[in-house]
Amino acid sequence: MQMRAPNGQQLTVDGNPQPFIGGWAYLIWAHGPTGGMRFQVTPAGSAELVSKQMGDWSRFTVREAQWNGDRIMSLEDPESGTNMVWVGPHNEVATFFTGTNVPFEAFMDVLAKFDIRDTPEGLTMLPRAGSGLTLGNLLAVNTIDQVCNVQVKPAEEASESIPRSAGKRVRGGSMWRVDERDEAGAVQTRSAFMVNDSTATTVVAARPDDARFISVVESISCRLS
């Protein structure tokens, strides 16, 4: 399965025995002279769907407008702040502003700094020349229903989290198993951390003793190019 990450890289994920629950969600930061800003890139409609399922929707003050034929939405939580969402034909881009009564213009000014291309293969948002922005800290997330959660990041951004001990050799890289135990010694969360030359992947099991989790860990392969 090949996808286009927001920074233009190609993400290839193979070998998962069960399909993923849906499209990939990405977190990416844009760093500039005035600090960093986090963006979530998800399949179109996700923000609305997820907040309705989580029961947050009724709390929001919802605003909506149209910008160049696409929807822009403002989901304002009076207690925490405002999520602004640009909804394209295939994917959407969301970011968070602190405070309430944030004008749409603030979000449009941010979006105008990027060249956004939305295709079925994925959305890319590359900083325009002169914006002074660079993209970094990419994280791609997806879920295999009831089995595990898969998080992929570029290998060069994970160099600090690689354990010193030698990992088990797997498919062109190394793998470490990480168990978090409670006071009684029972496994609370079980995860596997895999590093190859292009990605660092964390697979978190939904249930620690699930055999399907082991088979995902033993076969999945993630690459960024």
């Binding site: 003050t61 919802v62 909506e64 407008a65 149209q66 034929g69 403002s74 749409f104």
Partner: protein, 168 residues
């Protein structure tokens, strides 16, 4: 034969010199253009163009609120309906709906909103997102513009109080 080859060498040398001149001239032009671009970029934020539309001026001294909408935009339709509901004697100003498609005029058919269907004017006003509310002073100069995301925002921008809205 020798003389012919010599003349050819001289000619090609001359050609190279001419090319060098042309290249230098082109470099100069590029530098001038770059300089002008930098000047233009520096000047742009310092002197924002005052936008003015004579048509939205009024003789009675009241401001004009112009809601700019686009045809295939459900929010524009809702905002237009709401504008039609609140426009009237309670509103301290004139209400105008600006669009490029005739169909949009039907959205305010019942109220006291003046529909202006003028694609060229929509282009001149040049809003980024729709629906956008633009406020013009009595002399037709633009005071501000804001994207209107909800009926409550429209009320706030028009400074209509919720109690007036209930009676409307």
């Amino acid at each position: 034969m020798r003389a012919f080859l010599d003349s050819l060498t001289v000619l090609s040398f001359l050609g190279t010199v001419l090319l060098l001149f042309a290249f230098a001239a082109m470099l100069n032009m590029v530098r001038e253009l770059q300089g002008k671009l930098l000047q233009a970029q520096a000047a742009a934020p310092a002197a924002p163009a005052v936008r003015s539309v004579d048509r939205f001026g009024s003789a009675d001294g009241l401001p004009t609120f112009v809601l700019v909408v686009s045809e295939h935009c459900p929010n524009c339709r809702e905002r237009a309906h709401h504008l039609a509901a609140v426009a009237g004697p309670d509103l301290s100003g004139h209400a105008v709906l600006l669009a490029s498609a005739d169909r949009c005029a039907e959205w305010v058919a019942a109220g006291e909103v003046l529909p202006v269907i003028d694609a060229a004017l929509v282009g001149t006003v040049a809003v980024g997102a729709t629906p956008t509310l633009v406020k013009y002073a009595a002399d037709g100069t633009e005071e501000w513009r804001r994207v209107v995301g909800s009926d409550d925002d429209l009320d706030a921008f028009l400074a209509v109080s919720p109690s007036e809205r209930l009676s409307a």
